[in-house]
């Protein structure tokens, strides 16, 4: 049974931490907002993003001359409501970002753990692969593959995931090397714990923070790569709304109907900004220097 005072003190501490990390919190709020948009899109979006009225094509946003509040952000080249398409587009962008990073993380972390912990020949093979993949832009080869096997969703996710894992391997490997020599790991080994167990119970939890930070940054990058693929016509295909796809379609219209490129661009911008800030915030949270400050403040009031 804790006294009210203690609970209040804990709350106070938590708020102090959040305040120190307010940029990260702000970023997290943006990300939550976008996720809410994605999940509740059918309820939030004013119109069906797949249905358009061609008599109402290319209407500008409501504050411009020919605009109206019927379509707040205007309509696209087939008369579909831009706001609704942007809201639904969050689904595609988030799925693309998260799934491809998931694939990359799974492969990358696994290989990094193996390379770092078991070393020797495994390290040599894996590190060479990483070096090769980082130096040469395999994205270009991926373009050729997508052009042939077809630019559908599944292929795109696979390709994105398969070209992004090297970064993870690198980071994980260097972290593993650092932690391998630490006392409690040595102790565990001396006690006779098997390699796999050591990896998973001792080393892995410490890696988590770097991996999470890296993942969040990569999600942001994937969203931009999706825009790149769409520019080349190899991204998400119509009529599925995706921010990258909308940007790609809009490039001729940049001269005449600026809103078609601007609003998806802003959506990408805000989302990636939010993800980056959140990632930075998480990193700061796990930073040992700052942790010390948090812990010390808890000692004071505790």
């Amino acid at each position: 049974m804790e006294s009210l005072g203690r609970i209040r003190a804990r709350l106070y501490r938590a708020l102090k931490v959040l305040w120190k990390l307010r940029m990260g919190v702000f970023g997290a709020m943006i990300v939550c907002f976008v996720c809410v948009l994605a999940i509740f899109a059918p309820c939030i979006a004013p119109y069906n993003p797949y249905e358009g009225d061609i008599t109402k094509r290319l209407m500008p946003p409501f504050w411009a001359e020919k605009g109206s509040t019927v379509h707040l952000l205007g309509t696209d080249h087939i008369g579909r409501d831009l706001l609704s398409r942007i809201i639904f587009g969050s689904r595609v962008s988030l799925v693309v970002g998260f799934v491809s990073v998931l694939i990359a993380t799974a492969i990358g972390v696994l290989l990094g753990l193996i390379a770092g912990y078991y070393g020797k020949i495994w390290d040599w093979i894996i590190s060479s692969m990483v070096n090769i993949m980082i130096t040469f832009p395999f994205v270009l080869l991926a373009l050729a593959v997508i052009a042939v096997v077809g630019p559908n969703f599944r292929n795109m996710l696979l390709v994105l995931g398969l070209t992004a894992w090297p970064v993870f391997t690198r980071v994980v490997r260097s972290e593993v090397l650092k932690w391998k020599e630490i006392d409690f790991v040595q102790a565990a080994r001396a006690m006779g714990m098997k390699g796999n167990r050591i990896i998973f119970s001792e080393i892995f939890p410490n890696l988590l923070s770097s991996v999470i930070v890296l993942s969040s940054l990569e999600v942001a990058r994937m969203i931009i790569v999706e825009a790149f693929l769409s520019f080349l016509g190899l991204g998400v295909q119509p009529p599925t709304p995706s921010w990258g796809g909308m940007l790609g379609e809009s490039r001729v219209y940049m001269l005449t109907n600026w809103w078609l490129a601007t609003f998806p661009g802003i959506a990408i911008f805000i989302t990636t900004l939010g993800i980056n800030l959140m990632g930075d915030g998480i990193r700061d949270f796990f930073d040992p220097h700052l942790r010390y400050q948090f812990l010390s403040s808890s000692v004071e009031t505790g």
Partner: protein, 515 residues
């Protein structure tokens, strides 16, 4: 400190907003005389006029070389050029009299021997000319004297003149002396412009031929620049970097017309658009093998709506795939009306009360408005229960391979230019007879009629047959009928007047500049 970051975020947002604001206003200016710069979206493949099949090179072709006959851009009629007159000796023989005192740009004289050489070169299978199929009906060329030739054909060949209007003449002596590889880089013709330089993938420069037999052309220098991106082409036109661009998308027409430096020139051209339906089941069983389904889809598409709202009026509705500019066109046949209810009824009758799913294939071509209209069609078809999935091939080449192997479809987007031949044979033969790989539907009756029309030299007889064919085609609906193109060209205002033919070839040797 972190607050500062926030302020900076605001600052950057304002900067972005400003950039967008500046970019959405307007302004401009113009340049010098004596030169016209033309933008082309594709690289020119070669300077050998027989070894390509791409339209930009045909445009260049009309400027460096001459053909035997010439199509007047305004009247669309064929008139003399290197050939001054011709007569039909009998059903299988044509005799052409050639112009005297014409010299190639290197001094070689143009004679009947050159004509014979040209045809034999193109028809020679070892030469591998992509234009060979177009002239394959010509069996032999006989030199009667220095300025007279006789062309003999396999069967009666009513479209002879049409085909000759786009076949460039090169010099026998020059080609034999220098060899094909040299000729592919250093062109020599009898035309109004002579070759100056060619930086592959960048620009081709030609200069006026002072000794041209029709008289020197008014503009001294022509430059063709390769600019692949539409946005960049438009930007260049607006900034004064180029004077002529093609295929302006309908949505950008107002921008150019209001710019003060350039305007849109619209030309109704021969090519037509339609969507092939796999009626013959070449790609496997599909709903379009039933005539009712094919008709249904014609009722379900709001073609007039697309023309009005997406093409902004830059297209002419047609009833079948026959172009109004082609010989044999029957204007009394009316197009399918837009009637989604009737479409649904027909689908139910055909056994598809809940519609079906189908794949539509197209390639990333430069036909203006294509993407937009296909997506609009997708919407309309969804309303009658047909779920159309769009697959866009990155370019024409990959799509053609699929077409040839019968794997395109069951719907694929076509625009057919008739190879510049203003005659219905050029579409019926290639799209509706069993041996042509373009064809995804045919019938014994139509095949018989097409062969009859081909083999006759009597225009009245042919017209009657083509009328009958158009009636049958409309009823059978082997394709989703659409429209005849009105091509939009962006022309700099310093070019006061330019003639562009229904063959989509602008005549730069015949422009009038603003004083």
């Amino acid at each position: 400190m972190r607050k500062r970051r926030f302020h900076l975020f605001l600052l950057f947002t304002i900067v972005y907003g400003f950039m967008i604001f500046v970019a959405s206003s307007n302004v401009l200016g113009a340049e010098s005389q004596g030169k016209i710069v033309i933008a082309t979206a594709y690289d020119l493949p070669t300077m050998d006029p027989h070894m390509h099949s791409v339209r930009p090179m045909f445009v260049v072709g009309l400027h460096i070389w001459d053909n035997l006959v010439y199509r007047d851009p305004v009247t669309r009629k064929i008139g003399p050029c290197l050939a001054t007159s011709w007569k039909i000796v009998d059903d299988l023989t044509w005799e052409f009299k050639l112009r005297k005192d014409v010299k190639f740009q290197n001094g070689d004289p143009f004679t009947a021997k050159d004509v014979k050489f040209n045809f034999e070169r193109v028809l020679n299978p070892d030469q591998k000319s992509p234009q060979r199929p177009k002239h394959i009906s010509i069996k032999s060329v006989e030199v009667i004297d220095d300025y007279t030739v006789r062309l003999r054909t396999e069967k009666p060949y009513p479209v002879m003149l049409e085909r000759l209007a786009n076949f460039q003449m090169i010099s026998e002596k020059y080609t034999k002396e220098k060899g094909d590889a040299y000729v592919a880089l250093n062109p020599v013709g009898t035309g109004p412009y002579k070759f100056v330089s060619w930086k592959k993938g960048q620009e081709l420069v030609v200069e006026a031929n002072e000794n041209y037999w029709k008289g020197a052309p008014p503009i001294k220098t022509l430059v063709w620049r390769t600019i692949p991106e539409t946005t960049t082409q438009i930007a260049e036109l607006l900034a004064g970097g180029v004077d002529f661009i093609e295929s302006v998308p309908p949505d950008q027409i107002d921008l150019i017309n209001n710019s003060g430096v350039a305007r849109i020139v619209e030309v109704r051209v021969l090519p037509v658009a339609f969507i092939k339906l796999d009626g013959a089941g070449r790609g496997g069983p599909n709903p379009f093998q039933d005539k009712k389904v094919r008709q249904a889809i014609n009722y379900a598409a709001n073609i007039d709506g697309y023309i009005k709202y997406i093409m902004k009026g830059r297209a002419v509705r047609i009833a079948t795939w026959a172009s109004p500019y082609a010989f044999g066109y029957d204007s009394s046949i009316k197009p399918y009306p837009y009637d989604p209810e009737k479409a649904k009824k027909l689908l139910v009758e055909a056994g598809y009360p809940n519609g079906f799913e189908v794949r539509h294939v197209n390639s990333h071509q430069r036909i203006p408005g294509q993407r937009q209209f296909i997506e609009a069609l997708q919407q309309d078809l969804a309303k009658v229960g047909i779920l159309m999935k769009i697959q866009e091939f990155t370019d024409e080449g990959p799509l053609f391979t699929q077409i040839r192997e019968g794997k395109a479809g069951p719907m694929y987007q076509m625009s057919w230019g008739y190879s510049g031949t203003h005659d219905l044979d050029a579409i019926f033969y290639e799209h509706c007879t069993p041996q042509s790989f373009w064809a995804y539907w045919w019938s014994d009756e139509t095949t018989k009629l097409i062969e009859q029309a081909r083999a006759s030299m009597d225009p009245e007889f042919r017209k009657k047959i083509y009328s009958k064919l158009q009636q049958i085609i409309k009823d059978e609906a082997p394709v989703l009928f659409m429209w005849q193109y009105v091509m939009t060209y962006g022309v700099a205002n310093r070019i006061a007047e330019i003639k562009i033919g229904s063959d989509e070839i602008p005549r730069f040797f015949d422009v009038k500049m603003k004083k």
